[in-house]
Structures are given as structure tokens and as C-alpha cells.
């Protein structure tokens, strides 16, 4: 049983209407007070009624990966997306990146429509995914030089910036010339983050960036994301399974279940809602379990069934 907190979007330019500065326009729908004067600011990211289906077998109906998802990210904010495996988080990120085409709806990055102005969107975004994908025989510097050239950076400047970012992330200058295959998983993930930062994205899509990292590496990455928000004009979408991470970093959180957004609010508001409406403890774990419509027991049962 799931609970939808957001009513169906109205067919206006934005499903949320005008946006208050620094606040999601979904706030009124959630019963939250709207503060400040309404400013028609261009959001960093606008996802409007996005839908994506995949045909896996022509004899069967298509699998709905993302359905009618709307999301609005004001400039400079960090928006978390939580959901179980297969809930549509990564598909949504891929739709924003232009790696998948939309079946319905639209995506805008700083006012640029991904379908009509793909190249402009590509210049503004970058992504870090759960798997640190590189040419493993090449060094961090060689991989980053490739990225720098693709994004139009001067070779020497790109090299200097790559070294500076890698050092900031704890990868010493003497390691930057060795093949990436010799690095630990955590180090490789840091190089992936460095690659994304090197291109100075104004919208950064972090798709489970700390999954599989040890606690120290995870904290380092989280601290770096916070520093990025504080010192750079970067807006961030973060998908994660780490609820503490979401609570620490995200100003707002959307919860996806079965490809649909079933809840969206600030972390505190979500905790408050789950306590008031469902009698659950005011924790993000309780929020996750409530709005993904599952219990831990159900997950264990399902895994057992798969094993069988």
C-alpha cells in the first residue's frame, strides 16, 4: 500500500506553478508554508510528467520504468531520490542525461529542453554513477584529460585542474599516472567524482555515488559534496540507498516506488508526516518503508522466492 502525497500535476507549463526562491514549488501541494516572494526563477532541473516504458517482450505489455514523474530542483539545491532497487531512480537520471528518450513528458535543464536542445543540456550536466567506469588500463590523468578535451577545456588547464581536484579528494600526485585498475574501489569512485567536477557542471547527477565505499571514503565524498554546494554554483540530484546520507545532504527528498513519485518533502517534513499519519517512528527508515509500501520482512521473503 503506497501513499501519494503529490496530487496529479495540472496541465500548465510547470506541474508546480511559479516557484518561490529556494523552495520547491511542490511545497503548497504538501501543505507546507510558502515563504518569500514568488520569483519566476529558471530552475536547475524541471522534470514534468516524465514517462519511460521498455518493451522487453513484444507479447507482453511494456514495463513501466518511470511514470508521470515530476520534479523541480531550484538552483543551488540538493534533491534526493530514494527508492528500492528497480524503482526507476537510475532510469530517471538517464532521462535527464539524454541517455534515454522520453516516451512522454519533458525535461529541462536551466530552461533548455533535453529533446530540442540536447547539446546545451550536455554542456551543463555531468553524472557520477555507482560503477566507476573508466578505461582501466589508463591512468586517472589520462582518463581525465580525455574528459577535459571532450568538454572543451584547454589541455594544460585541464591537466592542472584534474591534479588539483584529485589531490583535494585525497589522491596524491604520484598516483595520478598509474593505471586505474591498480586503485581500490573507493579511489576509483573518487576519480569518477573528479571527472564530473572537472567539467564544472552546473547540474550534477549523483547516482548512488557512495554505494560500496568504506565508511571513511563515504564521509569524504559526502563532505566534498557539501563543500561543492557551499563553494560552487552547483545544483545536485542525488540517488542513494543511504538514508543518513540523504538526510545529511538533501534539502528535499522524492521517494520513488514502481516508477512513480509517492512522496516528496524535506527530510524533516517526511519524518513528521510518517509519524503523524502512519504512527511510525520519525525516521527516514520508517519513511522509506512506509512509502515504498514494503517491510523488511517482505524484502526478505521476496529474495527467498527469487532464490527458490
Amino acid at each position: 500500500m503506497t501513499t501519494t502525497l503529490i496530487p496529479p500535476p495540472v496541465p500548465t507549463r510547470s506541474p508546480f506553478g511559479p516557484v518561490a526562491a529556494g523552495q520547491s514549488a511542490a511545497a503548497p501541494a504538501l501543505g507546507l508554508p510558502v515563504v518569500g516572494t514568488e520569483v519566476p526563477a529558471v530552475p536547475a532541473l524541471l522534470v514534468e510528467r516524465a514517462t519511460k516504458r521498455f518493451v522487453v517482450d513484444r507479447r507482453k505489455p511494456p514495463v513501466v520504468a518511470v511514470e508521470d514523474v515530476s520534479l523541480l530542483l531550484p538552483r543551488g539545491a540538493i534533491h534526493g531520490i530514494l527508492g528500492a532497487n528497480g524503482s526507476g531512480k537510475s532510469t530517471l537520471i538517464r532521462l535527464v542525461c539524454g541517455l534515454l528518450t522520453l516516451d512522454a513528458g519533458r525535461v529541462e535543464v536551466f530552461g533548455h529542453d533535453i529533446a530540442r536542445d540536447e547539446m546545451a543540456v550536455k554542456r551543463l550536466i555531468n553524472r557520477v554513477s555507482v560503477d566507476a567506469a573508466f578505461f582501466k588500463k589508463l591512468s586517472p590523468l589520462e582518463n581525465l584529460s580525455f574528459a577535459a578535451r571532450l568538454y572543451g577545456l584547454d589541455a594544460r588547464r585541464g591537466r592542472e585542474e584534474a591534479i588539483a581536484i584529485l589531490e583535494r579528494l585525497g589522491i596524491s600526485r604520484k598516483r595520478v599516472g598509474r593505471p586505474i585498475e591498480q586503485m581500490s574501489r573507493g579511489m576509483q569512485q573518487k576519480v569518477a567524482i573528479a571527472r564530473a567536477l572537472l567539467t564544472s557542471p552546473t547540474l550534477l547527477l549523483l547516482d548512488e555515488p557512495t554505494t560500496g565505499l568504506d565508511p571513511r571514503s563515504k564521509l569524504e565524498v559526502q563532505a566534498f559534496v557539501e563543500e561543492l554546494r557551499a563553494t560552487h554554483d552547483t545544483s545536485i540530484v542525488l540517488t542513494t540507498h543511504d538514508l543518513a546520507e540523504a538526510e545529511r545532504l538533501c534539502g528535499r527528498i522524492s521517494i520513488l516506488n514502481g516508477g512513480r513519485v509517492v512522496a516528496e518533502a524535506t527530510p524533516d517534513r517526511l519524518k513528521q508526516l510518517v509519524a503523524e499519519r502512519h504512527g511510525q517512528p520519525p525516521t527516514l527508515e520508517a519513511v522509506f518503508m512506509t512509502y515504498t509500501g514494503r517491510s523488511l520482512d517482505e524484502d526478505v521473503d521476496e529474495e527467498d522466492a527469487h532464490d527458490d
Binding site: 521498455f54 518493451v55 538517464r94 542525461c97 539524454g98 541517455l99 534515454l100 528518450t101 547539446m119 550536455k122 554542456r123 550536466i125 555531468n126 553524472r127 554513477s129 560503477d131 567506469a133 573508466f134 578505461f135 582501466k136 588500463k137 589508463l138 589520462e142 584529460s145 580525455f146 574528459a147 578535451r149 571532450l150 568538454y151 572543451g152 593505471p179 571527472r195
Partner: protein, 266 residues
């Protein structure tokens, strides 16, 4: 920065990255060179057994050209296949570069690598058989390789579609294209021995004209100007096949984005 400068820089990114990869896999490069030389020698020795130096020369040219085509096709196909294997394909597709820039950068490196590799094989075979190149017109041979390269870039782009759409065996499926070119283009024999319907196919293959021009240049010392009948088909094919390759790859990319095939790794 102008758009052109940006695209050139981005195109060079693929050249540089592929050079880095060649450098890292130097052991494989040595092994591949040995393999190529052994393969070309084993074919050319058929001519030695017959005792016909013209046949030796003709087989050397066929073998080295076949080597060139194999190298170029494998590099272009691996442009996609290796990225899929390493998991970087989505990152490359996300980058703000035109697909033409991406593919031209990759194919340019493939052509340069192929020419260097093939020249090495040719030099070693020439020394092995003690052939006299005094009469050879190297400029003609070079011009035909260059002219043919435009067509091969276009065909290579179309070949790169296979690993884009067929995750597991797409790269291997490019061998089909190569083998058809081998069959109909007169690599080791004259196209006149082919059945009439295959001779029609041979006239549609750019490799036929390249081989004919290179052979006439190296064996007979013919100048480019006297080989117009081989030149114009290559010019026409080059002009047509590159845009066709870009168009076909663009269609395949859109299909891959619609069906989620870019995501697959392995």
C-alpha cells in the same frame, strides 16, 4: 572558442585516448604485428612456390591491404565495443560533442594506426622477398589508400552500429562485412574469376578500386592520372558513404536511447 575549434579539440580527444590505449597495450601490439606478418607471409609464399615475382607482389599487396582493412575495421568497431566493455559508453555519449566529431576522431586514429601498421608489414615482406621497388610509384599507392580511406570511414561507421545494438557479439559481427569485402574485392585473385553476379558486387566495393590502383602503382609504376577509372568511383563512394554512415549511426543511436541499449555493459 569557435564551434569548429571545440569540435576539433574534442575529436583529438579520441585520437589521444586511443594512442594512450595503444601505448598501454604495447605487448598486444607487438603480438598483433607478428600475427599480421606471419599471415601475410603465409599467403605471399604461395607466389614464391609458383616462382612468379609479379604474383608474389600481387599477393603481398593483397595481404597487406587485407591487414589494413582488418585493423581499421577492428579499431572502429572497438570504438563502441571497448567503451561498452569498460562501461564508459554512456559517459562518452553524454559529452557535449557531435557524433560526427566522435566517430571522425576514432576513425582518423584507426586510419593512421592502420597505415603505420600496414606499412610495417609491407616493409618487412618486401625485405623478406628482396623485392625491387625502384619501378614502384609509391605516390600512387599512397593516394589510393587515402582515397579509399574515406569510403572505409563511412563503412566503418556503419560497422560500429553492430556493437552498439548487439551487445554481446556486435563487434564480431563486423567480421561479416570484412569477409564480404575480402570475397568480392579481388584481394588475392582477379575479380574476373568471380561469377557475374559477384562481379556486380565487386564493382560496389571501394576495396576493388583501391587494390587495383595500388597494384598498378606498385607493380607497373602507373601514375594516378592514368588511373581515372579507379579514382572517380572512390571519390563518389567517399562522398556518399561518410554522410550515409553518420546518418545510419545517428538512427541506431536514437534506437539505442529509446530501447535502453546504451546502458548494457559487457
Amino acid at each position: 572558442m569557435t564551434v569548429l575549434a571545440h569540435e576539433l579539440k574534442a575529436s583529438y580527444a579520441f585520437v589521444e585516448r586511443n594512442f594512450f590505449l595503444t601505448r598501454r597495450y604495447w605487448g598486444w601490439e607487438v603480438a598483433f604485428l607478428v600475427y599480421s606478418i606471419a599471415g601475410a607471409l603465409s599467403i605471399s609464399l604461395i607466389g614464391a612456390e609458383v616462382g612468379d615475382r609479379t604474383l608474389i607482389f600481387s599477393l603481398i599487396i593483397g595481404a597487406t591491404f587485407w591487414n589494413y582493412l582488418s585493423v581499421v575495421f577492428s579499431w572502429i568497431a572497438e570504438t563502441i565495443a571497448v567503451e561498452r566493455w569498460e562501461g564508459t559508453l554512456e559517459y562518452t555519449m553524454m559529452a557535449p560533442v557531435r557524433r560526427s566529431t566522435h566517430l571522425l576522431g576514432s576513425t582518423f586514429y584507426a586510419l593512421v594506426y592502420g597505415l603505420v601498421h600496414t606499412a610495417s608489414v609491407l616493409v618487412i615482406l618486401t625485405l623478406f622477398f628482396g623485392l625491387d621497388l625502384a619501378r614502384a610509384n609509391l605516390a600512387t599507392a599512397g593516394m589510393f589508400m587515402l582515397l579509399g580511406s574515406f569510403s572505409f570511414v563511412g563503412i566503418g561507421m556503419m560497422a560500429a552500429i553492430l556493437p552498439l545494438l548487439y551487445v554481446e557479439r556486435g563487434a564480431q559481427m563486423t567480421f561479416v562485412l570484412q569477409s564480404v569485402l575480402l570475397l568480392v574485392s579481388g584481394v588475392y585473385y582477379s575479380t574476373s574469376v568471380l561469377p557475374p553476379w559477384m562481379q556486380v558486387l565487386s564493382r560496389l566495393s571501394p576495396a576493388t578500386y583501391v587494390l587495383d590502383g595500388v597494384r598498378k602503382g606498385l607493380i607497373d609504376g602507373a601514375a594516378v592520372g592514368s588511373l581515372w577509372g579507379d579514382v572517380w568511383p572512390l571519390v563518389v563512394m567517399g562522398v556518399a558513404l561518410i554522410p550515409l554512415g553518420l546518418w545510419a549511426f545517428g538512427r541506431a543511436e536514437r534506437y539505442a536511447k529509446r530501447t535502453g541499449k546504451l546502458k548494457r555493459v559487457g
